[in-house]
Amino acid sequence: MRFWIVSLALFLTLLPGPVLAVTEIEISAPGEQSIPLALTRLIAHEGPQADQFAAEFNEVLNADLDLAGLFHFVDPAAFLSDAQRLGLFSNQVDFSQWRLLGAETLIKGTYTLEGEELKVEARLFDVINRRLLTGRRYVGKVKDVRRMAHAFADQILKELTGEEGPFSARIAYISNQTDNKELWLMDVDGKRPIRLTDHRSIVLNPDFSPRGKEIVFTSYRAGNPDLYRKEIYTGSEAKVSYQQGLNIAGRFAPGEREIALTLSKDGNPEIYLISTSGRISKRITDNWGIDSDPSWSPDGDRIAFISNRQGNPHVFIADVFSRETTRLTRRGNYNATPAWSPKGDRIAFTRQQAGRFDIFTIAADGSDERRLTFGSGNKEHPRWSPDGRFLVYSSDAGGNRAIYVMRADGTGARRLTTLESDCRHPAWSPRW
């Protein structure tokens, strides 16, 4: 009988640690909580060593997760033997090593290089509960390594917060790198810039269609500020609105079928809605003053815009159906470029005070105004990431105007473009 008891006892201790109390990792907003994360470098599963890809994947993932603001990184110099070990299943990871370093989450991965083809397997583990949280297997070309890392960063945010990250998206912007202002597109970390227009004129103010396949922008190519539409994948381009006077500040409605823009065909700038073929479907504002810079509420029911109808430029909100208009901003004497958060709750805008522009946000009901930027330089053109976590904007703090990104609470600001050219008017694409 004693043997039975002994072997039963052995039996029980050999069972993998029963998950008794599973504590979920809960994060609701950047900065609220910081999780210690050990981010190991990809190791070669089989095939040739290609350290540069492992390093690049690591660097991209590190930057994205750092911007996310949810983590602090365990110093890689302290990593023990498990960082070099191949096993990616949760029963192959030596979690006790990571616990010793204070890590609560762990990223491990492998790559396989076959000619030009690159396979990456990456996994996120919960160190405390010794379990896999999420894993992804990417197959692509060697040049796709950055996109793989961005996609995994998105996946990590989805697993930990329930909402996917915006890192696989792109940022459209205007740069004068070729001496003319043209439309450009880059990754959300500022890398891989690519020029989309060759108008050799003045190109302004891009906006993405809700599915991200098209961009509208204004160009002086034909001698008047007209609105153009461009398909990103085919490169095909068409003039959408070319009324006499201004055809500017085009913004796709959330439903993709209409565009709000500013027209001055009657001698005074007003907000109109047009179809994607340029036909006017509705006039939103009717006022002697300047009305411009429309920005849709995410439900498409309201439009924030700028108007000087009460003297100084302020942000107003118009109901698309009743056209009833209310004033949003009360403070300051020059408020501009409203951008409605995709979450619907807040509106970002710029304010000039003491001769300098800074970025503010305000609740959609006009309460709870907050200033996000401080210090030198004019910060302008704020636009939200599709998940509402980040704001991309332009600033001339470094001399030339450049594109910057920060968290929605104003922390973590960093420059994305070089200072060699003037870059402005960023627009964050929907999820790619």
Binding site: L14, L15, D144, I202, G223, Y233, S292, A336, T337, F357
Partner: protein, 178 residues
Amino acid sequence: MKAIQLLKISLAILVLVSGLFGCATTQTAPPVDDQAKISSADMAQESEVMGVQDQPLQSENVPSHEMIAGMERIHFNFDQFTLSAEARQTLGQNAKYLNANGTVQVVIEGHCDDRGSDEYNLALGESRALAAKSYLVSLGISAKRLSVISYGEEKPLDNSTGEAAWAQNRRAEFKAVR
């Protein structure tokens, strides 16, 4: 005897158990729950973005209209499109020129300094050009000879910053339509 049998059985169970659950370093028999959380993505399926090829740079701007020697530009205050007394005087001179040169077609360009929203400035630039046009019309110049375009803050005269440069850049210019 019975005890030995029991020992054998329990050893068998032990072997079975360790075979089932493995030890931490086993490279085989992955737990099923891991697999369920792993998805695949083929990065090559995404279409490529069509970029513009780099071409030799030659400035091919929309031909800018020609300055007219007899017509002076006028200037404005910050965020204003009202005409100052000085601007009205200049416009009076410009109207004389237009009366003396009855075939000249004019495009009035409205410009701003680089402070403020780009779109608001495009609107403001247009208001400045329209203010100049209205005044010329009130002086008897046919509206058919006058068109307007706003460049907002896109074409500054002086690229530096500071009140002197800004004041230079807040202007309306009069150019001959070619």
